[in-house]
């Protein structure tokens, strides 16, 4: 299957992908639904107005859901609608279909250059949960915070450990992140106040719930993928000094909730299907409600780069892969709802930092510098243990398997100085 839109070699926005997002333009400033292809955004709202979604579900709903300023209403329609939309868009954008490609005026209106659009948060997030699903990350952080003997808590191999995060401070890629002030414990034991001196990124991905469940009901692992709309890149910015002092016994709070960045394009699970792989072997075997006979890990190559403010060059400081994650999205969702907790369309669940087994695959400065003991050298010669003001941090994600390419684009944010 080939598109009439030319797809640059390094683009992950292929005809197979069809990631969903919310965009606006200078001429039409109302945010609305679009999908990315190559270097263009396809205006789904305009296609809906032209009655070009002719499938059984979207024929009735496309004008309503694609005119919305968030994906929530579209997502709430459920997976059959998501699949119908993706297939129809693949058809309309294929070489064979002349509906758009054979109509110059329509093509000009529907295909808008990515450089000409403003992207918006793709969905309204009701609740945000962050898991802790990479065993390597949990071990690394545990070793630094509690010593090697207490690194991995006994519960970790039995359930996907997670905690609630802050929804209000989730921002779109490109938003500056202000270095937070806060309390920290100095080496001499005194309590200090001031800007964080251990500001960090966390390489994460996150899935967004498309279809929810009622309070008191659960989502089974077999049914989980019917509820997960898609996946984004996420940077869970962390202030390690604030976090280390505050986090016992109720978990991270101000060390995390000053900002979390997500990428603008949501890649659907259907687009990711070719990249399903076996994840790490789970030992002990999880309880039945977490047991899954089918694969649930995805082979997504991830990298993190830092570009200092005064440099033109970015340096890749970490190369990891989503497949290192021990607990799958399906397991996370089944666990989250096993007690009857209700999910709503737009709820976001982060993976936790995705660290791999090798040192260059550690997904945070905390791990790369081993809490400041070793510095990382950037291409401009400067050294980092944690982030400095002006640093631009960019996460990228890409899947490749034979001819099939699916990319997540990028998720970036620049550190600005504390108040």
């Amino acid at each position: 299957m080939k598109s009439f839109v030319s797809i640059p070699k390094d683009s992950g926005f292929t005809l197979h992908n069809i990631p969903f997002g919310i965009f606006s333009t200078a001429s039409t400033p109302k945010p609305r639904v679009g999908v990315a292809i190559g270097e263009f955004v396809v205006d789904c709202n305009l296609l809906a107005i032209k009655s070009l979604f002719n499938g059984p579900i979207l024929r009735q709903h496309s004008e309503d859901v694609f005119s919305q300023p968030t994906l929530n209403k579209f997502m709430a329609l459920g997976r059959p609608a998501w699949q119908e939309a993706r297939r129809r868009l693949q058809d309309l954008l294929s070489e064979e279909n002349k509906t758009i490609s054979g109509n110059e005026i329509l093509m000009k209106d529907v295909l808008i250059p990515l450089t000409a659009v403003k992207m918006h948060l793709p969905f309204t997030i009701g609740d945000y949960t962050d898991f802790y699903a990479s065993k390597e990350h949990a071990k690394n952080v545990g070793t630094m915070f509690r010593g090697a003997e207490n690194a991995l808590m006994p519960n970790w191999v039995h359930l996907p450990v997670g905690y609630h995060g802050r929804a209000s401070s989730i921002v779109l890629s490109g938003t500056d992140i202000r270095r937070p002030n806060g309390q920290k414990k100095a080496k001499d034991g005194s309590i200090k106040f001031g800007p964080s001196e251990k500001l960090d990124f966390e390489l994460e991905m996150a899935f967004v719930v498309g279809k929810g469940n009622a309070l008191g009901e659960s989502i089974s692992i077999q049914n989980a993928n019917e509820h997960i709309f898609g996946v984004v890149l996420m940077n869970d910015w962390s202030a390690r000094d604030i976090q280390a002092w505050e986090y016992v016994p109720l978990g991270p709070f101000l060390g995390k909730n000053f900002g979390t960045t997500i990428s603008p394009w949501v890649v659907t699970l259907d687009a990711l299907e070719p990249f399903l792989v076996e994840g790490p072997r789970q030992n002990p075997t999880p309880l039945p409600y977490l047991e899954d006979k089918e694969s649930g890990s995805y082979d997504v190559e991830l990298e993190v780069s830092i570009k200092p403010e005064k440099s033109n060059e970015e340096t890749v400081v970490c190369k990891s892969n989503l497949k290192h994650m021990y607990w799958t999205f399906k397991q996370q969702l089944a666990h989250h709802t096993i007690n009857g907790c209700n999910m709503r369309p737009g709820d976001l669940c982060g993976t936790g930092t995705i660290s791999g087994p090798t040192k260059d695959s550690f997904g945070s400065m905390l791990e790369l510098s081993w809490n400041g003991q070793n510095s990382v050298t950037l291409k401009d010669g400067s050294e980092r243990t944690f982030l400095e003001d002006g640093d631009l941090v960019t996460i990228r994600g890409m899947c490749k398997k034979g001819e099939i390419v699916v990319g997540f684009g990028s998720c970036s944010g620049k550190i600005i100085q504390a108040k």
Copy 2:
């Protein structure tokens, strides 16, 4: 100041109080803003339509904000608008003012018996945070979970420890609570799955943010009360066996997020002002951003009762007081935003369990039964260590000072059996 509406002796919905809520009626099922007085709801939407809010702010905004199905838009107007509304309603409901009392038809339309209305969640909650602000509770739980030596963590006296909770599962008083299933560790060390056997209540109050702050900005302690709209009763239902197994190192998760109940009527800080008292002495002196020269504690008498399904009698199992809380609302809000975390109208911040110094003031069954060691005897002769199916738990709150009475009404929920 006296109202023409007769206020029963045991009612906390006095002319001084004027608590805000969202109600609907069989004849007008659209939820809208009302205030409670005695045994009646005052329909603020109808007063607005009749142009009876004639102050400088509400003259322009009352029709819009009081017709909404949540308080969020009214709260976003800020404290001058809240004060204007309360004063105007006190005036309209006073003996002296004949606008309503002298107009039989208007009076019948505006004053609706509490028994004839359906109450709704008073605000849309974007983010929910739960603090841990009673020293007695933190000590009690810490002792049981970690032993007496590690009971109170070193950070506890330096900052209001808090964590993010789940907004989606916050329900209105009167909603049944389903006993959650989950993982727990048996005494023999094996991992079991099933209904929680240690289901508990937590006696809490919570403040709701009326006016927010931008991401990257902070709310100072001096300015905090301009951002806090009011206070409700809250029951932070907890499954202690699930919580004990899951909570390290990232805090409570499924042990809490299956349900949290709040009372329908929001009592404003202005109504609570006569009940300001000195709180516990804070030692060490907090850092400057948490230091407050003015009182911030309130004298609110609280009690919790349990009524078994087959009994007609409820038994008061706990009598506590909000004044025991170590960290004030103002300190909680100043701390929450010191890192630039943004608050939005409708964000809810719980106090954590409000336990006092004496055994009968402990605000949870975990503490009352000392983790199941001692049982509590109810009036029907049955014994409780934790909650049983069919138990109706009710929290009540009341302030009295001379002639001035302010009540919170009640916050109740019944346990129904696990799926």
